[in-house]
């Protein structure tokens, strides 16, 4: 079976700049996973994450004329998503999040192959999400970008507009906090 080759980003961007919504839709499909990983890492699961995800693409659409490919589309979108997530975190009341997070986490969809493996994976994911949620927004951003999304220290620094040394120190502190939580869990 021959697959139709997907058009490259540059072509889709050019078409989207000309008002082609279908081209922009392809870009959304292509990069929604990247944005979802960032916003759910930062905000947890829920409507907030969906709203920030949509807003990220809307901002990107508005800035299409200014985007000239200095960074990759993924990095550019991640930068928007991180900034919007940090703003959303400032707005959010912390107690609301504490009530919502476990309930929404239970809504995760199983892949249906192995219930035991699913439960274990779910347990790990829940532990990670809870541990990340306990971090401050600045530390959370570094952990999400550097440890979950796999950006390098340099790229993380670029996305957050901070020096690489700051990324390292924030990450060291965040890892220290996560380590403390891991010790608590192990007890």
């Amino acid at each position: 079976m021959s697959a139709v080759e997907a058009p490259p980003d540059e072509e889709l961007l050019e078409r989207a700049r000309g008002g082609d919504d279908r081209a922009f839709r392809v870009l959304v499909d292509r990069y929604q996973g990247v944005v979802a990983a960032t916003v759910t890492g930062m905000l947890g699961l829920g409507d907030d994450a969906e709203d920030v995800g949509q807003e990220t693409f809307i901002r990107f659409h508005r800035s299409l004329d200014r985007f000239r490919g200095e960074s990759s589309v993924a990095t550019y979108l991640t930068r928007i998503a991180i900034n919007l997530s940090l703003t959303a975190l400032k707005r959010r009341r912390r107690w609301t999040e504490r009530f919502k997070a476990p309930a929404r986490a239970a809504e995760r969809v199983s892949d249906g192959f192995d219930p035991e493996r699913d439960r274990e994976r779910q347990r790990q994911t829940d532990w990670v999400r809870a541990a990340i949620a306990a971090l401050s927004p600045q530390h959370r951003a570094v952990v999400v970008l550097r440890m979950i999304e796999g950006y390098s220290t340099r790229e993380t620094a670029e996305i957050l507009s901070v020096p690489q040394g700051t990324v390292m120190s924030r990450l060291a502190r965040a890892m220290g906090r996560l380590e403390s939580q891991l010790k608590e869990t192990d007890r």
């Binding site: 929604q32 890492g41 949509q54 796999g150």
Partner: protein, 136 residues
């Protein structure tokens, strides 16, 4: 380079080979550091394995619908601004015409004999102007 930076660079895979050798050599002598290293590696693995939660299905459709909505709203806003501006310009124009008309009728120079010509401020045709028009 402190311990935390060494561990982070090792996790990232950017620790220089000589530092890596130093690290491995020091682990036996520092059991606390070795334990910290194990824990950090475990955390890093857990973070990497954490399932990325996708958005609900039809996410792209919802985004494109919102963009369309925003575009319509923007077009509506331009139309509303134009309407608002036109209404004010039209009212100002009518008011000005009325003021000038009243001025021409009541206080202006007597230019013409008929009410309409006076209202519009048109000068009465003189012999001179008739000749000029004929020459033209």
């Amino acid at each position: 380079m402190n311990d935390a930076e060494i561990l982070l660079r090792e996790l990232e895979g950017t620790l220089l080979p000589e530092h890596l050798r130093e690290l491995e050599a020091s682990l036996g002598a520092r059991p606390e550091f070795a334990l910290q290293r194990r824990r950090w590696r475990h955390i890093a693995e857990e973070l990497t394995k954490a399932q990325a939660a996708p958005f609900r299905p039809m996410f792209a459709d919802r985004v494109v619908a919102r963009i369309g909505e925003a575009r319509r709203l923007s077009e509506d806003t331009i139309y509303m601004h134009l309407r608002w501006m036109f209404a004010r310009v039209a009212v100002a124009g009518v008011a000005l015409a009325l003021v000038l008309g009243v001025y021409n009728v009541t206080g202006g120079p007597e230019l013409s004999d008929t009410v309409v010509e006076t209202l519009l401020g048109l000068p009465a045709p003189s012999l001179e102007s008739v000749v000029m028009l004929a020459d033209a």
